[in-house]
Amino acid sequence: MKHSLTRRDFLKGTTSALLGASLAFGREGPAKKARVVLIRHRDVLDENSKVNADILQGMLDESVARLVDQPDGAKAFQALVKPGETVGIKTNVWSYLPTPPELEAAIKRRLVDAGIAPEKIGLDDHTVRTNPLFVNATSLINVRPCRTHYLAGMSGCIKNYIMFGESQPFYHPDSCADLGALFKLPQVQGKTRLNILCVLTPQFHGRGPHHFSRRFVWNYKGLIVGQDPVAVDTIGLQLIMAKRREVLGKAQELPPVPKHIQLADTRHGIGTSDLNAIEFIKLGWDEDILI
């Protein structure tokens, strides 16, 4: 059965539930919930939004450790990757809101601690398809900032893999509905060990497809981490919608339809968008947490 989300669902107040709920009727539920960890720290950004690298490293360590039930960050990364592997960190370099270099460095540090040789760690965005470190990668770490997107609704961990596609426009039709298919590409399938949605300064609104303004970002000071990219983006979307509701009003709660998140679950089966199937853990600073 093809389910169309309409404005009427929104008016009934069921939008959040629908966007967060798997609509794969008749499918057996997952045996184990997908764990997603949100961690925030009041002081990770200063008054000029400059990142405190030490605090950010601590946030990464604590959140990933909790994610995989390990005592600290180093052991947590040891549980994700094995010595001798080649690991690609798929980052995002969008000039206005890139992955913070401090976060990239924190990930690299823990990969080295886990026994990955520095020369076997790739860090790339636009050239991942041809970068030898990504061509040969046996594990991937997926990291990017969270923001709204004029076409896809939200740019999160799912959309971050679009650079693995031979043609990016191929994934654009129907509000980027089939971005989930990227995770089944041979270069990607089965390799993603960790997804990190950076919500230090998320962007909750945009003006046109090519626009960034400081007025639409806020210092949320958080990271959302998980091994399921769909679950991570589902939580990220809840955050974006909550902020839009707060600032823009209920009528603009929903960014352009982020249907790709739900379809990554129901059509492509790469994770869960069902809030009931997500174990959501919140750590750290909880002021104005919104979700």
């Binding site: 309409t6 009427r8 076409l151 959309k159 003006r207 090519h210 626009h211 960034f212």
Partner: protein
């Protein structure tokens, strides 16, 4: 300053002639802007090469948003960056939208800020200037903004508009709006589902069967004191397509509606879908069924 045309082959002689013949009389090729547009704006100086992106290469410039422009009759964008001595950046983009009606369309889909008095219509807020003039749609953007940067942006906009040729008419569809009660600054013109859902979310599926062959007007209409209803008026290529779209819309959005196309939604408002030749009028959030029906009856639609 050197201009770099991104990707794609340059036009051959025949294609170039066709392009020249089809250019709106008020302007020229966007590449000419490199020589015309000032390279200084206050303390800001043009940096790098000017860039041009056509329909094939716009993807190189936009992060997944090219479709929003390609849904219109977009031709090319000319882009230049400026930097101040502190390294802050401004981006000037001049989009050739193919016609004044299409320039109206892309401008109209995303209005939020106060008018800036530049070109035919404009708005400015928080480091973003948007305006239209003739067949051109222009944006000047600063990622960080203060009062001084705002002044430079507006000055640059005033300089640019001098080189864009004369004004041009908006879409003919505007003539079909109700005579009263329409908020002009909230009226949008477009063709495709992607633009509709950015303006007013209707459905995650394309139940209105919109594409580049359809012309859509979306308007906010004052229904009662302090309340707005929403009118989506769509012109399809023919009556059969309009009829099919109405059936698809009602099935997907208001399956309980009868032959009259009326249904009461869960918030107590009414939705109404009515055909008039190749026009489909849909009213959302109407306070009563009668009001919706009267609104559609009042539209000055052509007989054919």
């Amino acid at each position: 300053m050197k201009v770099t045309k991104r990707g794609g082959a340059l036009l051959g002689p025949t294609a170039g002639l066709i392009a020249a013949l089809t250019v709106f009389a008020g302007g020229g090729a966007v590449g000419e802007f490199s020589a015309k547009i000032p390279k200084k704006a206050g303390a800001w100086t043009a940096t790098g090469e000017d860039r041009i992106y056509d329909r094939n290469t716009l993807y190189d410039y936009m992060d997944g948003g090219a479709e929003v422009y390609l849904a219109f009759d977009y031709r090319e964008v000319w882009s230049r960056k400026y930097a101040d001595p502190g390294g802050r950046e401004l981006v000037l983009d001049i989009y050739d939208m193919g016609s004044p009606a299409e320039a109206f369309g892309i401008f109209s889909c995303d209005r939020e800020d106060p008018a800036a008095g530049i070109g035919q219509e404009s708005e400015y807020g928080f480091g973003l200037l948007r305006f239209r003039q003739g067949r051109y749609f222009v944006t000047v953007t600063a990622s960080s903004e203060d009062e001084a940067v705002g002044k430079v942006i507006l000055e640059l906009g005033r300089d640019v508009v001098k080189h864009l040729g004369p004004p041009g008419p908006g879409p003919d569809m505007l003539a079909f709006l109700p005579a009263a009660g329409v908020r002009a600054d909230r009226t949008s013109y477009f063709h495709s589902q992607v633009n509709l859902n950015n303006r007013f979310f209707v459905s995650s599926e394309n139940i209105l069967q919109l594409d580049r062959s359809t012309d859509c007007l979306f308007a906010e209409v004052e229904a009662r004191s302090g309340e707005a209803a929403f009118l989506l008026l769509t012109r399809y290529p023919d009556e059969a397509k309009a009829g099919a779209a109405r059936r698809s819309f009602l099935a997907g959005y208001a399956p309980e509606a009868g032959a009259d196309g009326l249904a009461r939604t869960d918030n107590g408002k009414w939705v109404f879908a009515s055909l008039a030749g190749r026009f489909l009028a849909v009213v959302f959030e109407s306070p009563t069924a009668e009001w919706a029906s009267d609104l559609v009856s009042s539209l000055p639609l052509p007989k054919k």
